[in-house]
């Protein structure tokens, strides 16, 4: 009885404590002393230095050959998949089967032109002796794929630009292409022992113009991806051990589509303003490093949360720049860069998850680096600087020059808006 009584006390007590009132209408009060405040800071001591790397022209929707202003496209490199797009069961190696007889093979690229006034002639080369790696979309450029590497290509075929029709929903469509007969290329060396499946495209005659073909990134729907089509007969015997009996013959066609491609671009020489300003250019491979050293000594209130952190640059006015997107990304490593420097490749590792973009507008570009500042404030990452580089979608001809700290009135600034208890 007493035990039950005490149990009632405990259980009822717990229950009662859980009953809490709640409010209906908020009351108005002077909350000016409440400890959550909004504040702002303008910071100006921002340094920047430009460096140059070979331009990266991969991941583009078009591949080019010829001359484009001051830029020269020397070659197009294309690598096909080792399995057909229709069936992953069918690879180059499986075409060597004795039950298969290759009738013909064509490598096709589709041109971006819409007229056919002066058909251009292209040559196709392969690299049977170059092992399994001829080029890299992200790392190959005019300095490591020079005339020497180009000369290693083995000539396979030439083709003239031509018009071709294909049907879409019973409607005839016209497309311009260059179709190379590569039947002879598909020997056992290419299909079996050579694993690079890479071909190179060059212009037979440089007419001083730019000629472009669709890259694999252009569209997966419009079937403009460069590809190698193989036409072959497949023999099927009732008894595979006795090939003298009746045979079923299937005539088939399979495509091996390009899975990586690249234009080899030779950029022009840089100008004085490219090195004197904070410069960004896709075509010239100009990138810049920004230093925000004051962040390490910046005294912010405890438990600061950033509402805005805008890194603002003013650009040297340039009427030719209509749309230009830049990326800003914090560095992972300490970098000492005191003047304009050239590098064979970009070795500066970055925190990719902190990448932000900014687009040139009203002669300025603004990067929202709130997350970088917040992570730095939490001591999750060090403040080692920020890399600025161009979007791959920018014109290769455009170079954006940003005013540096040395330029009065238009120097870069960091605007911070934050809340803190």
């Amino acid at each position: 009885m007493k035990l039950l009584y005490l149990t009632s006390v405990l259980v009822t007590g717990t229950f009662l404590i859980s009953i809490n009132g709640c409010m209906e209408e908020p009351l108005h009060a002077d909350l000016s002393n409440e400890n959550l405040e909004l504040d702002t800071l303008h910071l100006y001591d921002i340094e920047g230095e430009t460096y140059q790397i070979p331009p990266s022209i991969g991941s583009k929707t078009r591949l080019s050959l010829g001359v484009d202003g001051e830029f020269e496209y020397k070659a197009i490199l294309l690598k096909t998949s080792f399995v057909s797009s229709e069936s992953v069961q069918l690879s180059y190696a499986s075409l060597l089967d004795s039950n298969i007889l290759i009738d013909s093979a064509f490598f096709t690229v589709y041109l971006t032109t819409d007229t056919l006034i002066n058909p251009i002639s292209f040559s196709l080369f392969s690299f049977p002796d170059q092992g399994d790696s001829v080029f890299s979309e992200s790392k190959s450029h005019y300095l490591n794929f020079t005339e020497t590497e180009i000369a290693l290509g083995q000539y396979e075929a030439s083709a003239l630009e031509e018009e071709s029709e294909f049907m879409v929903d019973s409607v005839a469509n016209s497309v311009f292409r260059a179709r190379f007969n590569v039947s002879d290329m598909l020997d056992s060396t290419f299909m079996d022992s050579s694993l690079n499946y890479t071909v190179m495209l060059t212009l037979d005659n440089d007419d001083g113009n730019l000629h472009s073909v669709y890259s694999r990134e252009y569209s997966s729907l419009e079937n403009t991806t460069p590809k190698l089509d193989v036409y072959f007969k497949q023999f099927t015997y009732a008894d595979s051990a006795d090939t003298s009996q009746d045979t079923q013959i299937d005539t088939l066609q399979r495509s091996f589509k390009v899975i990586s491609d690249l234009s080899i671009l030779v950029p022009p020489d840089i100008l004085d303003e490219d090195s004197s300003f904070i410069s960004i250019s896709r075509g010239k491979g100009l990138r810049s490093l920004i230093s925000l050293n004051f962040l390490d000594t910046l005294a912010l209130p405890n438990q600061t949360t950033f509402d805005k952190a805008e890194l603002i640059f003013h650009i040297v006015p340039d009427t030719t720049i209509s749309s230009f997107t830049l990326y800003a990304i914090p560095l992972q490593d300490t970098v000492e860069l005191t003047n304009f420097t050239y590098f064979d490749e970009d070795l500066f590792d970055t925190f990719s998850y902190l990448t932000v973009s900014g687009t040139v507008s009203d002669n300025q570009v603004v990067f929202n680096i709130k997350r970088f500042l917040q992570d730095h404030y939490f001591n999750h990452i060090d403040n080692l600087g920020i890399k600025l580089y161009s979007s791959v979608n920018n014109s290769i001809h455009s170079t954006v020059h940003l005013y540096s700290n040395a330029d009065s009135l238009l120097y870069p600034k960091l605007f911070i808006q934050y809340v803190s208890p």
Partner: protein, 423 residues
């Protein structure tokens, strides 16, 4: 057999309410913890439960005929020009038993401070930053409080005087959400206070004057801190509630900064935030009519604790000193009452209360009246109590307030420490 009734009644909820003072400092001090005391405008010093017994005064518990489990809850409504609000409160849960005619023991739990607020900044600030117009406004929501887990023993001093010592273990927590709205973006700043401390209370009574034409009993109480209240203040990283769900989470679009990236809450200890001194005195005059009493009570309470700005951003309207004077009347039922009308105990009272706001910046007066009754039932003299209070708080710096309170109490009796005859 009576416990299910207690559960059923205690599940009733009432209208909800908020005084402006409950949002400041530690919140609003809860002085009265039973319906019987409230109905006599008492803070628990004078007898109100039955003749010679106050549930809140352990020095009177030796007069209990049974062991009692007592529970009380109340509903408050506060009306002012600022609006009408309300809240329900748990008042107390207590067990008390007499041991012989001179000793008693009991324990229980009751709220000490009720800290509830939902405030909107009275002004919206507008300023221009980088050409953008920013409108900012503060909102504060919070709830919690300090409670006391206590135990008390009663013992005799002389043939006419008795004493009781009560030990109060203070505990509780408070959650606060400060919101800063910047245009249409909301930033939340969560804080939590975790309280601990201890108090003593010493009760004295004398029936030395319980004789003559107007017999009177005298009651005294004094209280202070053994270990003044301290708070472990947890301060959480402010965040932007991007997904507008009121929580700090990653539901798309994720709040900012990302919850997984923020450091642990910062903790700091604030000592001596509540250091009270309390004194109470009561006189119980028995009228010629054997069961009628007129009583008077004085109660003084002052908080000498430190209220730092960091812990208490809102404290200007905190009541840190309160004096109450009350006169009350009661007609108790006799122990051998048989008819229902004889089992009802009638109570009423009037009171005047004078409160000082933090640092004597201003004061508030409150006066009002209370009425109530209790009904005994069952062999163990169980009792249902009901009280109603109507008060006017004037001179307030914000707005005059009308306070109404309803309190229900249920007391279930049982026989303890009685030898039963073997069957």
């Amino acid at each position: 057999m009576y416990r299910p009734k207690l559960f059923a009644i205690l599940t009733i909820t009432f209208m909800l309410g908020q005084s402006i003072h409950s949002g400041y400092g530690l919140g609003e001090r809860s002085f009265t913890h039973s319906a019987s005391a409230l109905s006599m405008s008492s803070r628990g010093i004078i007898p109100s439960f039955t003749e010679n017994v106050s549930l809140s005064n352990p020095v009177t518990w030796n007069h209990l005929k049974f062991a009692y489990l007592a529970g009380n809850i109340s509903g408050n409504e506060v009306s002012s020009n600022l609006g009408t609000n309300g809240h329900t409160d748990f008042n107390s849960l207590q067990f008390a038993v007499s041991i012989g005619s001179n000793y008693a023991w009991g324990f229980g739990v009751r709220p000490l401070f009720s800290h509830k607020l939902s405030l909107i900044g009275s002004s919206s600030d507008e300023f221009i930053v980088n050409g953008d117009t920013l409108n900012t406004q503060h909102f504060v929501d919070g709830s919690g409080g300090v409670s006391s887990l206590y135990t008390a023993i009663r013992f005799p001093i002389t043939a006419n005087e008795g004493a009781a010592i009560e030990l109060d273990i203070l505990f509780g927590s408070y959650r606060k959400d400060t919101k800063l709205r910047i245009n249409d973006r909301d930033y939340h700043y969560y804080q939590r206070h975790i309280y601990d401390g201890s108090l003593y209370r010493l009760f004295l009574t004398s029936n030395r004057f319980n004789k003559g034409q107007i017999p009177a009993n005298i009651y005294l109480m004094i209280s202070g801190a053994i270990k003044s209240l301290r708070a472990n203040h947890l301060s959480f990283q402010p965040f932007e509630d991007v997904n507008k769900n009121g929580y700090f989470d990653t539901s798309p679009p994720s709040d900012s900064p990302n919850p997984s990236s923020v450091p642990n809450a910062e903790s700091s200890i604030f000592k001596n935030i509540y250091n009270p001194f309390e004194f109470g005195a009561g006189l119980d005059f028995k009228l010629k009519n054997n069961k009628s009493h007129i009583m008077a009570e004085f109660y003084h309470w002052k908080d000498n604790g430190n209220k730092s700005d960091e812990l208490f951003s809102l404290k200007s309207l905190y009541i840190d000193q309160s004096n109450q004077y009350s006169i009350s009347f009661a007609k108790f039922s006799s122990d051998d009452a048989f008819k229902l009308s004889q089992k009802i105990q009638y109570r009423s009272g009037v009171y005047f209360r004078h409160d000082n706001l933090y640092n004597n910046t201003s004061s508030v007066n409150e006066f009002g009246l209370t009425v109530g009754f209790g009904i005994k039932f069952g062999r163990a003299k169980n009792q249902l109590d009901f009280a109603y209070k109507y008060g006017l708080r004037s001179g307030d710096v914000k707005s005059d307030e009308i306070i109404q309170q309803i309190t229900f109490g249920v007391q279930i009796g049982d026989l303890w420490f009685v030898k039963r005859r073997p069957k």
